[in-house]
């Protein structure tokens, strides 16, 4: 303690500096040595996108993280695309039906249509006949029936195609990133390298198996169809009664029924009128009979024709309203179906996500790779 204050302090500082530098150099050296000694230097061969990559443990861990990240990303994308595709498909399908509405109405107001309706109204089976006709025009002739029946196949093939492209994309991205980062295998190690087949895992994770398809079908029946056989049947069963009970359709039918009700007594009046006229004016004998029946037929015919014209105008007034209501109802059913299909797609997506995660764990279980924790090293 003989020197000036600054000198004493500097001496102490130099001492500390030297010691700390020594400690730091020694510590860093030791840490590095330990890290090298404990480094994950096992090698793994990874089969991805039909290419064999040799990776060391640390790189493999990154590879695995990337793989999980990419598949998750692709999966959510697939979810989105399937949703969009379903939406488009629904719009397309129901456009078929809405486009067929004018044709149906054309038939409805045409002569054959009117008379067959009259015929069935008189026969008492108007309701089932009309239901069948509506089903024929809106479902069978328009192609909606066929379109709906093929939904399962279409959605599965679409999914399949999407999955294949995604699998290829993931494989290509991974190879692109990790091919330059391969470790150099020594001869001794190559024989005992654990093999990871990522292709197989991705394949089984993405591809829809027979079991998947079965699950889809039963699932779609359970959630969308509620007991019915196919989507087409569901729509037919739920949609037709709703269409038939629409206000405009009902009032048109009521007009017709009223006409039929009026028809019977008027016919009777016409017949008796014809009869009296004949007895009053005509001579007796076979000529009277002929004259009477001619009179009856003219009376009845005029009555039917005039009343029927009245009916037609009544119905024609309803045509626009009817068309609008049918269209609106079709669109409403489309939205209901859309919600159900989305729900079903969601549950399907979740199932597939779980399946994919299981599939991706498999190669690691087979190669007996444990997840390790490192205090030293990263």
């Amino acid at each position: 303690m003989t020197a000036t204050p600054t000198k004493s302090r500097t001496r102490l500082f130099l001492l500390v500096f030297l010691a700390v530098v020594l400690l730091s150099v020694g510590g860093n050296l030791g840490v590095r040595l330990l890290e090298e000694r404990l480094a994950d230097n096992r090698l793994f061969s990874v089969l991805v996108n039909n290419q064999k990559l040799v990776l060391d443990g640390a790189t493999l861990r990154e590879f695995n993280d990337d793989l999980l990240r990419l598949t998750e990303q692709q999966r959510s994308q697939a979810d989105l695309q399937m949703r969009q595709w379903t939406d488009d498909w629904l719009d397309r399908s129901f456009t078929l039906a809405t486009d067929a509405v004018p044709q149906y109405l054309d038939w409805y107001y045409s002569m054959p249509g009117s008379y067959s309706r009259l015929y069935h109204a008189v026969g008492g089976d108007l309701e089932p006949f009309m239901t069948a006709q509506m089903g024929h025009f809106l479902f069978d002739a328009s192609g909606l029936q066929q379109q709906l029946a093929s939904f399962d196949d279409q959605v599965l093939s679409r999914w399949q195609a999407l999955a294949q492209t995604q699998q290829r994309v993931i494989g290509q991205q991974l190879v692109g990133v990790y091919a330059p980062r391969q470790a150099k295998p020594t001869a001794a190690l190559t024989t005992s390298m654990p093999m990871l087949n990522i292709d197989l895992a991705l394949g089984s994770g993405f591809r829809a198996s027979a079991e998947d398809i079965q699950r889809w079908r039963t699932g779609s029946q359970a959630s969308v169809l509620a007991g019915a056989g196919t989507l087409a049947l569901l729509v037919r069963r739920t949609l037709l009664p709703r269409l038939m009970s629409l206000g405009a359709v009902q009032s048109a039918r009521r007009a017709l029924a009223g006409f039929v009700a009026r028809l019977a007594p008027r016919l009777a009046v016409a017949i008796s009128a014809g009869g009296t006229a004949a007895t009053v004016t005509a001579p007796s004998g076979p000529g009277a009979l002929v004259a009477g029946s001619v009179a009856f037929l003219t009376a009845a015919g005029t009555l039917v024709v005039t009343d029927f014209t009245l009916l037609k105008t009544e119905e024609a007034l309803l045509r626009d309203r009817k068309e609008n209501e049918i269209r609106t109802e079709l669109l409403a059913s489309r939205e209901i179906l859309r919600v159900r299909l989305h729900q079903h797609l969601n549950s399907m997506v979740e199932q597939r996500g779980a399946q994919l995660r299981r599939a991706l764990v498999q190669p690691y279980e087979r190669a007996e790779i444990d997840r390790r924790f490192h205090i030293l090293g990263r």
Binding site: M1, P5, S8, L12, A19, V20, V21, N28, V31, F373
Partner: protein, 252 residues
């Protein structure tokens, strides 16, 4: 006061600097904090030794020179100071803002308490050793509010919920990443984080349904108190060391 705030603030700023610069500044920061801790602890050790020697040795014994404290003492305290500083730095990188605030407030408290103590000792203690004695008494006095404050904040901060899960699982789920890229500091950080996580896990499970919850409670509280005490002690020692370093020049 400003001299006290300077190292405290610069250390807290260092913890917030982004990575490459933080790595470069690590060595200077470590040297500086070890220097401060060493100055303080060396002074108090010399004082203690002198009291002991004057108590037992004859005035003209040659052992006075031998036992006064030289290279061996310096090297020992140097080692302790460097390791304490390293521990403190690793922990500082992960302290919560509230604890940072508490530490900063402590610098002010130390300045204020030091002045008050100096005034009290003026009429009682010999001039030559007064600053050293004041600093000796300052350390426990400052630790008194600091340690309970530290414990209070640590126990009030939220922790990841680890009740009912095994230690290994807790580590693999919740161990945070080390912040530094410097190998030695990162190692210390990871060890500290592991220690912290262990004590949190033990603390949470001490009252749980585990069979060894009694032992866990002991482990948890001893780890909590030991690590907290070591950290706060290093901090106080460092701040007190500023005074010792300034004084060391003046007395020489």
């Amino acid at each position: 006061m400003i001299l006290l705030l300077l190292p405290a603030i610069s250390l807290l700023i260092w913890t917030q600097i982004p990575e490459p610069a933080q790595g470069w500044l690590f060595l200077p920061v470590w040297v500086a904090s070890s220097w401060l801790i060493l100055a303080g602890s060396l002074e108090s050790a010399r004082l203690r030794r002198r009291v002991w020697l004057e108590q037992y040795l004859l005035a003209d014994s040659s052992w006075h020179r031998l036992l006064r404290g030289g290279v061996l003492m310096t090297v020992w305290h140097l080692l302790v100071a460097a390791l304490l500083a390293l521990f403190m730095l690793a922990k500082l990188l992960h302290v919560h803002a509230w604890i940072g605030l508490l530490l900063l407030a402590q610098a002010v408290v130390i300045g204020w308490l030091g002045r008050w103590l100096d005034a009290r000792l003026q009429v009682h203690v010999r001039v030559a050793v007064r600053p050293a004695v004041a600093r000796r008494m300052l350390v426990p006095l400052v630790m008194l509010p600091l340690l309970p404050g530290y414990l209070l904040i640590v126990l009030m901060l939220s922790q990841p919920a680890m009740v009912g899960i095994g230690w290994g699982e807790a580590v693999s789920l919740y161990l945070p990443e080390a912040q530094s890229a410097v190998g030695l500091l990162a190692l210390c950080e990871r060890s500290y984080l592991l220690l912290d996580l262990t004590l949190q896990w033990a603390l949470q499970n001490a009252l749980g349904s585990r069979e060894d919850s009694g032992a866990l409670a002991v482990l948890a509280w001893s780890l909590l108190l030991l690590s907290g005490a070591a950290f706060t002690w290093a901090w106080v020692r460092m701040l007190v060391g500023v005074g010792a370093l300034v004084n060391r020049g003046e007395e020489a």
